[in-house]
């Protein structure tokens, strides 16, 4: 963790990207939705829905990014050997990335929530206690994708590093971030059923509109996320074992 703290301290892009994108998205989409709200009636919740979507999606991205880019950093620095000639376990490295992602997501989330209140009078505290299960699923989904990317990079090398910036966006159309699932075509809805964050966004919209969430659905979502996380952890560990067969020195 200390290593990633130092890295963040020295890397301007890593220090700023946890604030830069949420601010940019918030301004762009917040103002866009404010514009639409001024034209369309019965859209009191549009701006809230869009802004909650932006900030919640940021949590997924942060979870994924830290998990996969931290592995990439070690490969770029040819530092895997230095790390793993020590008693460090791969699981500890993963845990460090997870904790860092929670810290950075918390900083970014808090700052974005503060801006949302300040600029658009959108208060995410409105979600109350439900913020915890909702963000837990968001983070877990980010970790799952991040671990899948990290495992794939460990197996095939940095030639697939673009996945670290792109893969998470592949699920975004099926996550129903800004629109209800019903908008998606049938096949799209089928895919969305297997994506835990789609339930988070559906329930967050339900909460904004009706003040309630589907507890059963949320519980099942957490369960689904845990199952995915176990599978992703297994895949990342298997990939690390595979990379040891090739040798960490040759990994880049």
């Amino acid at each position: 963790m200390l290593r990633y703290f130092y890295l963040t301290r020295h890397s301007f892009d890593r220090a700023t990207d946890m604030l830069y994108w949420p601010i940019l998205d918030l301004l762009l989409w917040g103002l866009t939705s404010a514009y639409f709200q001024s034209y369309i009636s019965e859209t009191d919740t549009v701006i809230f829905t869009i802004i909650a979507g932006i900030i919640f999606w940021f949590v997924v991205v942060r979870g994924q990014y830290e998990m996969s880019v931290n592995i990439l950093e070690e490969l770029w620095n040819r530092n895997m050997v230095n790390l793993f000639v020590s008693p460090l376990k791969f699981s500890e490295m993963i845990a460090a990335s997870a904790i860092i992602s929670v810290a950075k997501a918390a900083i970014g989330f808090s700052f974005a929530a503060f801006l949302a209140k300040l600029l658009f009078d959108v208060n995410l505290i409105y979600f109350g206690i439900y913020l915890f299960p909702l963000t837990l699923v968001l983070l877990m989904t980010g970790w799952v994708i991040g671990l899948f990317v990290a495992g794939t990079i460990l197996r095939f090398g940095t030639k697939l590093q673009a996945l670290a910036w792109t893969l998470v966006w592949v699920i975004s159309p099926f996550s129903a971030i800004y629109y209800p699932l019903s908008i998606l075509p049938g096949w799209g809805q089928t895919i969305a059923k297997f994506i835990p964050v789609s339930y988070v966004f559906e329930n967050s919209r339900m909460f904004i509109m009706s003040g309630r969430v589907d507890i059963y659905e949320l519980s099942m979502t957490i369960l689904l996320s845990v199952i995915y996380l176990i599978c992703a952890l297994w895949y990342a560990h298997r990939s690390f074992a595979k990379s040891l067969e090739k040798g960490l020195v040759k990994l880049y």
Binding site: S11, N77, N79, M80, F84, P87, L244, L248
Partner: protein, 309 residues
């Protein structure tokens, strides 16, 4: 001395290529073992397997009496590694690198240890510099400091003094010998500096084509080469005469400035000198160099090259 590392029938295959072929050796407590061999012989592959960053295809590694891959973390707490060919994160300062690495080990007093190794490797003035700002020699010193951070009982050093200035290299060699004597540190090292290997190593394992071809002391390995080198500098007017004689008798020799270096079996030296005297060939200077580890290395790699298709 007890064995601190035991390697049994260790092999590593990459697809159809055998990088390490069924090797077995031991490292005794407090011993400095040189791993020698030509490039691509399997030395680095062996070291990587001993560090647990490469999985063997077959074979066993026992460290401190326990199966290494079963008790990997426990063993690595007492091992460390330095290589000229690996770098620490470039964006971090020397202090940051050493600090975060110190947290990977169960150290009692980190701050004190960091001060100690900083002083030992003369890094005080470099602490706030990023690794990317250091010269190759300075990076090697930081790598060595990193290798000593956890009071290792076993050190694996890949070309430990490459890229160091001669005075710093001599200091590091002396330091390694002191650590060995004071704390009984066992060391496996690879180096292309044969004088360094002769100075440091108690024993040498020579690897070629992934297999061990010799396991002996540097002296015995050098002695196994019977050829010594006689350097003769005759008066300038006699040089041609000496050269003609050497060519006529088909001696293996080379010419260096105004002297000739003749490669000759040790037991034939006396007869050779008598022969020169009988031919009336005089010389102003003569030196006889006994076979060295360098000769052994060259002999072994020459054999390898000749055997190559």
């Amino acid at each position: 001395m007890n064995s601190i590392i035991e390697v049994k029938n260790l092999s590593k295959l990459f697809g159809g290529f055998t990088a390490v072929d069924n090797i077995s050796f031991v490292l005794k407590e407090g011993e400095i073992l040189g791993l020698l061999g030509p490039n691509g012989a399997g030395k680095t592959t062996t070291i990587q397997m001993l560090l647990g960053v490469l999985t063997p295809t077959k074979g066993e590694i026992t460290m401190f009496g326990k199966e290494f891959f079963k008790y990997r973390e426990e063993a690595l707490e007492m091992i460390n590694f330095s290589s000229t060919y690996t770098t620490l994160p470039w964006d971090l300062t020397v202090r940051e690198n050493l600090t975060y690495i110190s947290y990977l080990y169960a150290l009692f007093d980190r701050k004190k240890r960091l001060q100690e190794i900083t002083a030992l490797f003369k890094l005080e003035d470099l602490l706030e510099q990023k690794i990317s700002q250091l010269s190759a020699g300075q990076q090697t010193r930081v790598n060595l400091a990193k290798a000593f951070i956890n009071f290792p009982k076993i050190l694996l050093l890949d070309e430990p003094t490459a890229s160091l200035d001669p005075d710093v290299a001599a200091y590091i060699r002396e330091f390694l010998l002191q650590e060995q004597k004071k704390f009984g540190v066992s060391i496996i090292l690879t180096s292309h500096n044969m004088a360094e290997v002769e100075e440091l190593c108690d024993r040498i394992v020579f690897i070629n084509k992934g297999a061990i071809v010799a396991d002996d002391t540097p002296e015995n390995l050098a002695r196994s080469i019977k050829i010594c080198h006689i350097e003769i500098a005759p008066p300038a007017e006699e040089f041609q005469k000496l050269r003609q004689h050497l060519e006529a008798r088909r001696f293996s020799f080379s010419v260096e400035k105004r002297s000739a270096v003749i490669n000759l079996e040790e037991q034939k030296v006396a007869a050779f000198l008598q022969e020169l005297s009988a031919e009336g060939i005089q010389y102003e200077e003569i030196s006889i160099e006994k076979p060295s580890l360098q000769d052994y290395f060259l002999q072994m790699t020459k054999t390898e090259n000749h055997e190559a298709p």
